[in-house]
Symmetry: D2
Subunit: 337 residues, 4 copies
């Protein structure tokens, strides 16, 4: 298998760590550079679990220096930071997989509304594939830049899209109630993610204002021609990782629970990482994997979906490796089973 040289931008956080662990299992991935603005030391001092596994320093590199070494860049930088360097990387023929939100939205206006700043590379918006292979595999293949999805959107879009496409549920008045582990809040110390604040505690946050909302609405309604409206409430749950998303949609007509399950099974037949299950899933069934388990329940006039993923893997780094495999023509499941 031909090797591909990889750089990771912003390598000190949890998604970057998870990415490195996955890539270390990938026989064709060769990590050649790790960047960080603040650090200048071996990566295993920042991530002790990499001791004896990855012997690279964290470096403060320019896009040009990165392009000199790498054929593929995974960017774990904060929003707008990737869009500030992506053009230079792409121009030099480097493929880019962005973990952030810079290229997920199709509209510069929507970006401005939700992120409060002008997009630094607005011209590309609308031309970058949304990196959810189960829905956009063909667009991703052949791309040079991929917008890796947000963790909540992945957990919401996978169960809802087939049901909307099949006309089984209304795309309007969908309630999405998500519960995420604390690793989703990142690795930057703050009062709200201290152990004694999060442990033995669950709380909602960013009610109605979370930046993953426009991303969900954009994708699930695409092509439906109908008005899409979603109420999205994320909750911080006392566990390291995992997202469970419960959605409540209005059924259209006489859709039975079993029909909805069957439709999901049909839609995801052959997909290696999406399992439609009968029993109610637990995040524990999928953490530390790239998998999504989904089930459906019909209750009165509502169809509920319940889906679980690992926020750091299928919700971030695993999806990124899946996209990498597609971009570089490796078997899609490499390093992910």
């Amino acid at each position: 298998m031909k090797k591909t040289k990889i750089a990771i931008l912003g390598a000190t956080g949890y998604t970057a760590l998870e990415l490195m662990k996955l890539l270390l299992r990938h026989e064709a991935a060769e990590i050649v550079a790790l960047t960080s603005r603040q650090e200048d030391r071996p990566v295993c001092l920042v991530h002790p679990s990499l001791t004896g596994r990855l012997d690279l320093p964290l470096e403060n590199l320019t896009p040009e220096q990165v392009a000199d070494r790498a054929e593929c860049v995974f960017s774990c930088l904060p929003h707008t930071a990737t869009a500030a360097v992506a053009p230079a990387l792409l121009q030099r023929g480097v493929k880019v997989i962005d973990f952030g939100a810079d290229y997920r939205l199709n509209s510069a206006e929507v970006f401005r509304k939700w992120y409060g700043v002008e997009h630094p590379d607005a011209g590309r918006l609308g031309h970058v594939p949304y990196g959810l292979p189960e829905l956009f595999r063909e667009k991703i293949r052949g791309a040079s830049l991929v917008a890796n999805p947000g963790c909540y959107p992945t957990s919401s879009i996978l169960p809802l899209t087939p049901l909307i496409k099949a006309g089984m549920i209304e795309p309007e008045d969908i309630i999405i109630d998500s519960k995420s582990g604390v690793s989703g809040a990142g690795r930057k110390p703050s009062l709200k993610n201290l152990y004694p604040e999060c442990n033995e505690a669950i709380s909602a946050y960013a009610v109605g204002t979370h930046r993953h909302l426009p991303e969900i609405e954009q994708v699930i309604g695409a092509g439906s021609g109908k008005k899409v409206s979603v109420f999205f409430t994320p909750h911080l749950t006392p566990m390291d990782r995992g997202i469970l998303t419960t959605t409540y949609s209005k059924v259209t007509g006489e859709v039975a629970e079993e029909e909805a399950l069957e439709e999901l099974r049909r839609f995801y037949a052959g997909e290696p990482f999406v399992q439609v299950v009968d029993a109610l899933p637990s995040t524990k069934d999928v953490i530390y994997t790239n998998r999504c388990h989904i089930t459906v329940r019909r209750v009165g006039a509502r169809l509920l979906t319940i889906s679980v993923i690992d926020n750091l893997i299928k919700g971030a780094s695993g999806a990124a490796v899946q996209n990498f495999n597609i971009l570089f023509d490796y078997p899609e499941t490499t390093a992910l089973l």
Copy 2:
């Protein structure tokens, strides 16, 4: 303060333990009997945290024996077991506070539908006050039997009732998404509540079929004259205790977030255990207390309420002590601050 002699039926579980801890702080409560079918040993062998605090044996007693000793009985027995002994206790002048569901529903038919058995004391249904003092204080005062509310219902009824009464939200199509700590699942060993199954895991259970649903619908719609429909999904969350309930209701007309908050503040003004707060509450703000914190958010056409309680205290034993204080004319907050 005149002392009251107390017996606790079914004293080996978590709610009974919590009850004993509260009563040990109550200067007028004198625990005189603890029953259990299976045990015949000091209570502190079953609950080591009571060592040096409560020196009583667990005994297998008949209702008559209990009535000989106690003026008030707290029953932590499984459903139908309380209704099997309550008549004998009441006949002997003992007041009864039932932690279970036996006397919560007004209709024997609804009971049969949800519990799958005939009610053993159906004649009393509809005449027993629902033990939520914030709504039914006057009915509780003077009663001899109180139906202590379920934990999920308490967390749902407190935020929803004032808004429905004020006509600010529709009682129909209300979605209630609750997240509970594992102590709510009881102390009986089973695979599903083993530590390695629950830890680092969140899952939904009893979707659309949880027995707390009819109780919620019965109370929140009382007197509204409108059709009430609720979708209720409980989730098992990796923490000992605490319930966070997120509800999504349709606003009626032009209710602003601040108006809804104001209505809740007005409704609960003077209530010692319900706080209407501005910030999004965490279960951590209320665990180990008898308090409920509530807030409201308006998102589009929906009004969201977010409320938190300790499932074992305000959701069970604390409410029971609150009812006890009302029944026996002690200051309502005794042992609960």
Copy 3:
């Protein structure tokens, strides 16, 4: 009961919060001032669990301003900060209970060695009672300044002292292996106490260098006339609160397990907060209480003690209230049962 006016210095942390909760249950305690250098807002914004319970602002006050309002000061300030203000408070007749280490050690030299700075009030060292009522009750009574013990020392001194005094174990080569919940690390955000760093993780820290070591050696060896040496290793354990301390000592001669247990029972007979138990205790038996459970095991030539406390209560705020009760002549268990 005559009321006592209380100020709390450094009221934003976890021990201060726990202290306030205890004092709110104390019928004679009247909290009149809360200080903080950084804040100027209602305490319930910093501690949401106090909403509706304590309506005071955090203020930046001088010792003189504090002395104008309060008769008793609980100081939760960092080390040397209490010693900088205590003289002014004491001079104005205010009694002081210090949560920190400033007055625990008898020697300015030992203080300098372990804390790396000169003691600001060295003249008082050696004259301040160590606030462990079970050992020093009479010295505390009548004092105006009390050095509240460290959490690890409390969990170590209580089991070891009676056995050393009785000549049952050698005070030399004692190994103390302690496991503490994360609240012991304080409320200041740092990478090491982030949820995803601490959760699902146990680690040792400060091996052989923890500042609680000299405190333990000073107290357990007092009056033994023998050389005392302790190896102390604290571990950060994924739980909010609780300390379990396992000690390994050499038995002197033919001490049987039961004799050691008996000696502990005799020593602590009548003590309301120390229970000598037969079974191996869990931190869960004592968290949220002011109690210490202790047991002993004889294994070969070693006597093991296993003891559990709540680090924030018996290891900090509960002990402080116990000392307060002694200083102001209230029943010692007030607010602590």
Copy 4:
């Protein structure tokens, strides 16, 4: 790579699940049978995380039936159950890796003392290699039966053996204080491993009586010609997985901390799964890996070692796969990186 057909006996527990996950990543491992006395259903009903990954039933098979299908058996059966079937398997040319204690001890008498029963296959004792490749690789190679080590022994033997062999510490009066996640207690429901009993709780158990003790003493003292004595105390820690072991030994003469570290580095040079680290390790650095991180501290006359492993991987299933790789001549790290 030539494939090897594998059967797993006792496939419903946590170590078996972990084993299956590892083997699914092993390109030469073909799982052909899963046994269980109680079940007759697809394995993914018992282990939902295997959905879409392993489509095999749990079957109740005789040793002969197993031997007809498999070339290698991993036995996760309780003690004495493996020894009851191993002879029949070995006779039919099947290689056996035992997760249990049946073949770990060299002496039938020691087995009887600690396990309270006669050994069913005593003749083999003393001739079965102890499956810790870092110490016994050559004996494992060429064996047909391997005794996979206990989790606590692995975490204790790896740090202690090189220091004893080098004469740096005394093999006598070694104190081993271990802290394990709850998965080590198995998957059988019991009060003591319920979530609300274990969560927010740490406790010691089996003090001085744990069956891993003779195994540790047998291995660390082998060939030292000196008397070996160990005090071993395991603690149940509120986390899924991971063991941290702290040992306290007497240094012999003037061994400096750095010398001990250097000796460990020398001893484990080239070992893929043992890393000698400078910083104090956390279980989090190694969970979900087959690695052991070790460090050393010199405190006074004692040398402390601190080591961490994942109890289910390096402490059980990962070690078993490592042994499998050696037995069947695959690269030793296959499926373990």
